[in-house]
């Protein structure tokens, strides 16, 4: 027979209060090593009390209180390992490139969709130049009609580091949207990839058609390879998410989604610093004619080459668990 509720609370409450105080101290970071044992003992006792309350006092405030107390203690005791600087380094040395290689098929599919978009846009504009009115935004058409690059002006308006930070955040937003819209059964990502491809292809084709191909190449050459690679990788991440939704395999959809989501976001987080770096190039090097086209092209190819060399080689030999793919 269970003790009456007030007696139970009066008898056990000191332990609960002590546990609560230890948990607060742990959160504040002032817990001493010797107190860990006490914390452990108190948690086990509270868990036993919870089991007792579940049986005899279900639905009372004491039951709810113990549930919450044990929940907090459980979260404190069974914490996942903390992410620190070392694990950040390990992430870029091994985890990120490995995850990318393990999911290479998705990145390839994403690249295919992007190329398809570029081809569509380019073919439409080259075969039927009036199609540009549909595909290329009006302010860009105005610039091209005047035989000017719309990028010539940006450095006269604001200094390069402001341009670079603006570009970086803009590109990060595009990357994030490309990845996140994968949650819409992958269709969002497919749309973003093809749409961006068509946009790029049609603008490029219009420039070539109007005899400004060299100017466009001059602007794109330095940052293009890495930037487009990153969009494609983010697209791959979005497709991973979409695939988990459409075909979760042997897992329940929810679990497959959570598992895939963790993997996919690694690709986006991994790309972020490279995106910031390439924005610096796009802000400082790409506009204007301080560097010649050939310098820009060489720089762009070198950066792109290094980026992919890193993605394909890094962490290949080092020991460590292979990521779940």
């Amino acid at each position: 027979m269970a003790a009456p509720l007030p007696a139970f609370v009066t008898r056990r409450r000191p332990d609960w209060d002590a546990l609560k105080e230890l948990l607060d101290r742990q959160r504040a970071g002032t817990l001493r090593l010797g107190e860990l044992r006490t914390l452990d003992v108190l948690y086990r006792r509270a868990a036993a009390d919870l089991a007792h309350a579940q049986t005899f006092y279900a639905g009372t405030d004491v039951h709810r209180f113990l549930n919450q107390l044990c929940g907090q203690a459980y979260a404190t005791i069974y914490q996942p390992p903390r992410e620190r600087l070392a694990s950040t380094l390990a992430f870029f040395r091994q985890d990120f490139p490995r995850t990318l290689r393990a999911n290479g098929a998705f990145v390839a599919a994403s690249a295919g969709l992007f190329l398809l978009g570029i081809l569509l846009g380019a073919v439409v504009v080259l075969l039927e130049p009036r199609g540009a009115e549909l595909l290329v935004p009006e302010h860009l058409r105005d610039f091209i009609a005047r035989k000017e690059m719309w990028t010539d002006g940006i450095l006269t308006v604001s200094p390069p580091n402001a341009v670079a930070s603006g570009i970086a955040t803009n590109n990060l937003t595009v990357t994030i949207v490309t990845f996140a819209s994968g949650i819409l059964l992958g269709l969002g990502t497919v749309f973003v990839l093809i749409n961006n491809g068509v946009h790029l292809g049609s603008v490029a084709a219009l420039c070539v058609h109007e005899g400004m191909g060299a100017k466009l190449f001059d602007f794109i050459a330095a940052h293009g390879p890495v930037e487009l690679s990153i969009i494609v990788i983010a697209g791959g991440a979005g497709l991973m998410v979409g695939q988990a939704l459409v075909d979760p395999g042997e897992l329940p959809r929810g679990q497959a989604l959570a598992l895939r989501g963790r993997e996919a976001v690694k690709l986006v987080l991994g790309c972020a610093p490279f995106l910031a770096l390439i924005a610096v190039v796009e802000g400082f090097v790409s506009p204007g004619d301080f560097f010649s086209s050939w310098v820009k092209a060489t720089l762009g190819l070198a950066l792109g080459g290094f980026f992919w060399l890193y993605l394909l080689r890094a962490g290949r030999d080092a020991p460590g668990p292979t990521p779940v793919g």
Partner: protein
């Protein structure tokens, strides 16, 4: 007491006790979001006014100076949009300031705290949840899923649990006033539900309308008192004596 079954997160601990944590619904989520939005808004208002106090010619200042200032501005806007949420959730144990105020917390579906990856996922997918406007997709997802999760939570494998402020003092509060009250003559033991009922009445009694207070008190005394006619009349003479008797009745149970 739990009239409407509210969804909960059930966790099996290694101690072989199953926890069940209450899940935060759309109301808590919206309020926490609004609080966070308000904090960011205030931050920018304060930043703006400090800035305009320090610099008289704002437009000229922006055009004249300011590679660095413009960079800071762009980075600041970006940080408030994307980094604020994840940074707060990782550093504050699954809570943003708004969530802490509302007493809700982000946890993984197994009840453990969120890490960088989960938090990043759920906050990056925020951009889809906020489509097409005023979080329509997110709201639909929260309303339609059993554990009230938005798309970002589904992809990250997280959800929001509530932390209630539960007062245990009511169980241990001492009997007030040494009034000479008749004690129960033929009382049977109270069950846990009975104790809970009487205690929740005692907690709320001071805020009740006098009539309702008297009516409920009388009902409880008649149900659990076990008094004869004379004793009941003494006890029911005033609200104080009624409640003191009920408290003593609960305390007698230890």
């Amino acid at each position: 007491m739990n009239s409407a079954p509210s969804p909960s997160l059930d966790v099996a601990t290694p101690e072989r006790v199953s926890l069940s944590l209450p899940v935060a619904g759309i109301g808590y989520r919206c309020l926490a979001y609004l609080v966070d939005l308000f904090i960011l808004f205030v931050f920018w208002v304060v930043a703006y006014f400090t800035f305009t106090l320090l610099v008289s010619d704002v437009v000229g200042f922006f055009q004249g100076l300011s590679g660095l200032a413009q960079t800071l501005l762009v980075v600041g806007v970006f940080a408030t949009q994307w980094v604020y949420w994840t940074a707060a959730e990782v550093l504050m144990g699954g809570q943003t300031p708004g969530k802490r105020l509302m007493g809700i917390r982000v946890v993984r579906v197994d009840g453990s705290p969120v890490g960088v990856l989960e938090s990043a996922v759920r906050n990056l997918v925020r951009v889809v949840d906020s489509l097409p406007l005023v979080y329509a997709v997110g709201v639909l997802s929260v309303l339609l899923t059993r554990q009230h999760r938005r798309l970002g939570d589904l992809l990250a494998g997280t959800l929001l649990v509530r932390e209630e402020r539960i007062d245990l003092d009511k169980y241990t509060a001492p009997t007030v006033g040494a009034m000479a009250l008749p004690t129960a003559t033929h009382s049977e033991r109270l069950t846990a539900e009975d104790v809970e009922l009487i205690l929740s009445f005692l907690t709320r009694a001071p805020e009740l309308e006098p009539q309702a207070r008297a009516r409920l008190g009388t009902k409880l005394v008649e149900r659990y008192g076990g008094l004869d006619e004379a004793g009941r009349a003494t006890v029911l003479a005033s609200a104080q004596s009624t409640e003191a008797f009920l408290r003593a009745r609960v305390q007698a149970e230890r």
